[in-house]
């Protein structure tokens, strides 16, 4: 008997498509919630993305009790405590996160405090600390990349101790993720490109790393297909609502895939680069993806070959000899990166970012080796391996 074993879990109700926001009042009432709080950031508010959410609720006589719009890009324990205080003083009974990764992670952490009590979120850090369901919680993503709306993880910085606190529990998952194309229509081109490549990396690593399983494979391949077929058309026509919806759905599907089968060395290097050089996460993913696939090639030849079908379509797949399909998949990802560079100058190498110094590569490599994602990479990367990949990604 084989030792093969896997787990798959995603209880998030996905509400996607035209007028999806207008389902929020009905869904909240189904959970007995009447006094929601919105957690978001200044950028989302300035972009006018709150109006359709608020209007959708007010039109159904659901009052948004308060809006906290000051979530910083790297949220902290202090911010979580402040928002929880507002939630309690306004007697809210549910949370709607509107935004990207930071707003969503912050809302997850706030939900812990307002459901479990207390003011110190660090008491709940770690895996499996939460033992019961939290308050009703909805997520409206405004980027198409992080997949945070379907992941059971939040990371919050403890600025006093200078550490990042991880929170892991299936109770952090929202009750519903609302995917409405209106929320991503105005994303600038370089953010559209970087976040889509983030989703592409989630799907690719989920499909090629050690914890892959049949269910996450289905989500990962569907996500890769949607991104491959829609990203460049959205870059050409940013107001293409159908294309935007495809990318948003792909992000959620990639999120479901990687939250069940984890990611690998691209993420380990990306997290380290983000920490040292402060590059956006999606950009780091786009930078490292082909180089890590080349490094892992002989361990992932079979799944990477299969991925060509979803990257390039059935004709290209059939026309490529079986023993060249894995290399063709990497070439397809490189072509996509080249096209994005042409569109919006999304960097393809560390040098092109202009924000990384070659002298930082060794520090990035050392930090990447201690990242949790490296555990699921199919090859055991040594310091020398990581340094070699970084040198290739340099220029």
């Amino acid at each position: 008997m084989t030792n093969k074993y896997y787990e798959f879990f995603c209880p998030v109700k996905v509400i996607a498509g035209k007028a999806a926001l207008e389902h929020i009042p009905y869904e909240l009432s189904g959970l007995g919630a009447q006094r929601p709080m919105i957690i978001t950031d200044k950028g989302v508010r300035a972009a006018g993305l709150l109006e359709p959410v608020v209007a959708a609720c007010e039109e159904s006589d659901l009052e948004i009790v308060c809006i906290y719009d000051d979530v910083p890009p790297d949220s902290s324990t202090g911010v979580v405590r402040d928002i929880a205080k507002v939630y309690r003083s306004e007697k809210c009974d549910s949370i709607i996160a509107v935004g990207g990764g930071s707003a969503i992670d912050t809302a997850k952490a706030v939900n812990i405090l307002v459901s479990e009590g207390g003011d110190d979120i660090s008491e709940y850090a770690g895996a499996g600390v939460l033992k019961r369901a939290l308050k009703p919680f909805f997520v409206v993503p405004t980027t198409a990349g992080t997949g945070s709306e379907v992941t059971a993880v939040a990371v919050i910085a403890d600025t006093e101790k200078s550490v990042k606190l991880p929170f892991t529990s299936s109770f952090l998952l929202p009750n519903a993720a609302i995917i409405d194309p209106r929320m991503t229509l105005t994303l600038p081109p370089h953010i559209t490109a970087a976040t889509a490549m983030d989703a592409m990396t989630h799907a690719t690593e989920a499909f090629t790393c050690m914890a892959k399983n049949p269910l996450s494979d289905a989500y990962a391949t569907a996500a890769v297909k949607k991104i491959s077929s829609s990203l460049l058309s959205v870059m050409d026509n940013p107001k293409d609502a159908d294309g935007r919806l495809e990318l948003a759905q792909a992000s959620t599907m990639a999120g479901i895939a990687f939250s069940n089968s984890m990611v690998g060395l691209v993420h380990a290097l990306g997290h380290a680069t983000g920490a040292i050089c402060h590059l956006p996460h999606g950009l780091c993913m786009s930078l490292y993806l082909p180089y890590v696939l080349e490094y892992n090639l002989e361990s992932i030849r079979a799944p990477l070959s299969d991925l060509l079908l979803y990257l390039e379509g059935p004709e290209a797949y059939a026309a490529t000899p079986a023993n060249r399909r894995a290399e063709a998949s990497i070439a397809a990802i490189r072509r996509l990166r080249d096209a994005l560079y042409k569109h919006c100058k999304l960097p393809r190498t560390l040098k092109e970012t202009g924000k990384v110094d070659e002298s930082q590569l060794d520090a990035i490599a050392a930090l990447a080796l201690d990242d949790g994602s490296i555990m699921f990479n199919p090859r055991e990367a040594s310091l020398e391996d990581a340094q070699a990949i970084l040198r290739k990604a340099w220029a």
Partner: protein, 181 residues
């Protein structure tokens, strides 16, 4: 019928095997930290007094290691002297047996959700590398390849045999000292 009668004995044998392997690994971790500079280099960044535990949920066998500083470990028999800083928990003794009998690699066990990490994940990754290096030394290559993700390319036979002999000698000495004490 016979199989049903044998089952309690099989469970008991499995429990004893896991307990014995934890003891061997605990002593061997202490030994390798005394003789291998690569392991000491890995362990150096752990805080002094750092307590690492591997255990079987809910209250099964466990091994507890303390970092004494400078990359050196001490194996604690019995209970931890204070709350541990990092715990890798097997969800069931059957999962611990799969890993400790080299039917499932440690990395595959993580991927298969056989284990939970309670504590700083970066320290867990570091300790996993230490465990991998230990297994590469003390197990025959064919078995080590079943236990770790990739057998180290730069580990050659003379170094492996010499270090394995030193580790086993230290482990045997520690066992004898435990029995005498």
């Amino acid at each position: 019928m016979l199989a049903r009668r044998m089952q309690p004995m099989a469970f008991q044998a499995r429990r004893l095997y896991v307990e014995l392997m934890f003891q061997v690994m605990g002593n061997a971790l202490q030994a390798i930290s005394e003789i291998d500079s690569t392991v000491r280099e890995e362990a150096k960044s752990l805080p002094e007094g750092f307590l690492f535990e591997m255990m079987v949920m809910p209250n099964g066998a466990k091994l507890i290691i303390e970092h004494l500083g400078e990359g050196r470990f001490r194996y604690h028999r019995g209970q931890a002297p204070r709350p541990v800083d990092l715990s890798i928990k097997f969800k069931h003794i059957a999962h611990a047996f799969l890993v400790l009998s080299f039917q499932e690699k440690t990395s595959v066990a993580f991927a298969n959700d056989r284990m939970l990490v309670d504590g700083d994940i970066s320290y867990a990754i570091r300790m996993t590398r230490v465990l991998n290096r230990l297994e590469a030394f003390i197990l025959p290559r064919l078995i080590a390849e079943r236990a770790i993700k990739e057998y180290p390319k730069n580990l050659h036979l003379p170094e492996k045999v010499l270090n394995a002999a030193r580790i086993y000698l230290k482990v045997a000495t520690q066992f004898v000292e435990t029995v005498v004490a």
